[in-house]
């Protein structure tokens, strides 16, 4: 019995050893990659709680943990104002995007009409357009309306058109079987009812992911706030403020990193609670065909 087992096992041994070696190699590589991505964030945290002098030194580990730095940054700069502006920009933009993009995505995914493909390609083209291309006439128009120096030019477009969100929502809605939509119509639902009662509830994960991306995109935006509000510090968002924060407090890297961490916080919190939506959402952005 043992002899039989032995003989059976012998030829397999090199194979198994190779598999084990591969397991070790792949997993140490994976671990190294994970660390490479994570270590800069750890470094930010460690620097943020150092004393002023130590943050400027070679040390990586804080001698004393100055948690008070996180409170101090609120005293050295009007962070609450910036935070308020960032929230205003991100929340309003996300709300507006949902109002305008869900119906548009529905028309592109679930209604049949001539020219649908062409319109969809226009959306893709708009999505890929660098924001600098349209900046001059848009700035000119907003300035003649007297609205530069406010958040209006940043928020208003989302209430009408956001190419990326329309694109992403359409990709999600395409995965909802057409038979549900047809059934609703046979039951006598109007198009609005079909959207509100059938498609929107089924697309909830997609809507959540799109809202998350929209929130974070506007939260992280730098070009928009710089273009429209750079002259008016009361209207600055956190991203814009951070870029000049290190200007005002050049040597206080600990405080800069504390602000950096505060800016990264919503992303980390949102991700922790909605990792699935994020991952599902991001895979939908990779145009399949």
């Amino acid at each position: 019995m043992t002899a039989v087992l032995d003989r059976a096992a012998t030829p397999r041994r090199p194979v198994r050893r190779r598999a084990a070696l591969e397991w070790v190699a792949v997993h140490s590589l994976g671990l190294a990659l994970g660390l490479m991505f994570a270590l800069p964030v750890v470094f930010v945290l460690l620097t943020a709680v150092m004393s002023d002098e130590q943050a400027f030194s070679e040390d990586l580990w804080p001698r004393e943990w100055h948690w008070g730095n996180f409170a101090e940054v609120f005293e050295t700069a009007p962070l609450l104002t910036y935070l308020g502006n960032s929230l205003l920009y991100s929340l309003l933009a996300t709300a507006g995007m949902l109002l305008s993009s869900i119906p548009a995505a529905y028309a592109l995914a679930k209604l049949r009409w001539r020219g649908r493909e062409a319109v969809f390609l226009l959306v893709v083209a708009a999505m890929m357009l660098p924001p600098q291309v349209t900046a001059v006439p848009l700035y000119d128009a907003w300035s003649s309306l007297g609205l530069t120096g406010s958040l209006w030019p940043l928020v208003a477009p989302y209430f009408l058109f956001d190419a990326f969100s329309i694109f992403l929502l359409r990709q999600f809605m395409l995965t909802i079987p057409q038979s549900y939509v047809d059934a609703a119509r046979v039951d006598g639902c109007s198009e609005v009812q079909t959207l509100l009662r059938v498609v929107a509830p089924m697309a909830r994960p997609g809507i959540a992911a799109t809202a998350l991306f929209c929130f974070l995109y506007t939260w992280n935006d730098y070009f928009g706030p710089l273009l429209y509000t750079s002259e008016v510090p009361e209207e600055w968002t956190l991203s814009l403020a951070l870029s000049s924060f290190k200007g005002m407090h050049q040597v206080e890297w600990n405080l800069s990193m504390a602000v950096t961490l505060l800016i990264m916080l919503p992303a980390i919190v949102l991700f922790a609670f909605a990792q699935r939506s994020f991952v599902r959402g991001i895979t939908f952005t990779g145009v399949k065909g």
Binding site: L35, A125, P137, S239
Partner: protein, 324 residues
Amino acid sequence: MTATLERAAASRAARGRPRRTRHRLAVLGFLAPAGLGFVLFFGYPLVATVVFSFTRYDLINPPEWTGLANYAYMFGDELFWTSVRNTLWFVVVLTAGRVVFALGVASVVARLRSGVGLVRTLCYLPSLTPPVAATLVFFLLFRPNEGPVDSLLGWFGVEGPLWFSDPAWAKPGIAAVVLWVSGDLMIIILAAILDVPRDQQEAAALDGAGPVRRWWHVTLPAISPVLLFGVVNSAILALQLFTQAVVAGSAASGSANVTGSTGDLGFPGNSTLTYPVWLFTQGFRYFDMGYAAAMATVLFVVSFSITAVLVQRMRRASHQEEGA
């Protein structure tokens, strides 16, 4: 069955407007806000950019027609060509870098048996970091002499360059920031790899193909549409590279009031003066809107040609789907 449907449709048609008209109204209603937005925020500005590009305009006095003067000026504008070279550098390095890097990481993560979720999270998290923050973090990591990267190099007896203050290293530094936040592309590619049918892999394995050859002959062709998306997406991203360049340049120059002054843009030695940075400076710091519009028109032509590659492919794919 058909009779019932027809009767239902007929009764609905009898109830009010003909069904066809109602359908058209629905389409129109759903698309109206987006259509208006498209015209206001894309249609009009695209046309207006081209018109402005033939004028001299400072936002205060009315635009003055100057024909092709702005385009002629480009040829002699040394900083214009510097910015073109810098942006081309980023397009080449970041397109290749992002796709190869994301593909490499995704291929490793796809082979993990345990800890996939953790590694995936760690790789993806940095991509949520605001670009301003990510750039500052890297600036600090690569701080000459005291920075952790220089300390690490010191153990091997290597003395690091001045990184973001060295014209030869500032662009690679910015590229490192962008690669660090490439987790989104990695997730897209990872999903595509996991989507490759298992039986194809197994058939190739039965034919005696090792893991490397299976990856090359089965996985890679299967995910090629997603790779094309990665290439187009990365090229467009590199074309509009602005934030990281501005923040890195001003942080390194030390004077660092991004929002006001223009003296430190492109620091060190114009090595971080990308095309959008020069466009922004001309338009919104020197208020030479006509010249900025001319630069924007050129940027539009270039970015649109890149997008057209992707759009072409999508059109062909959707036609194939309809045919099947």
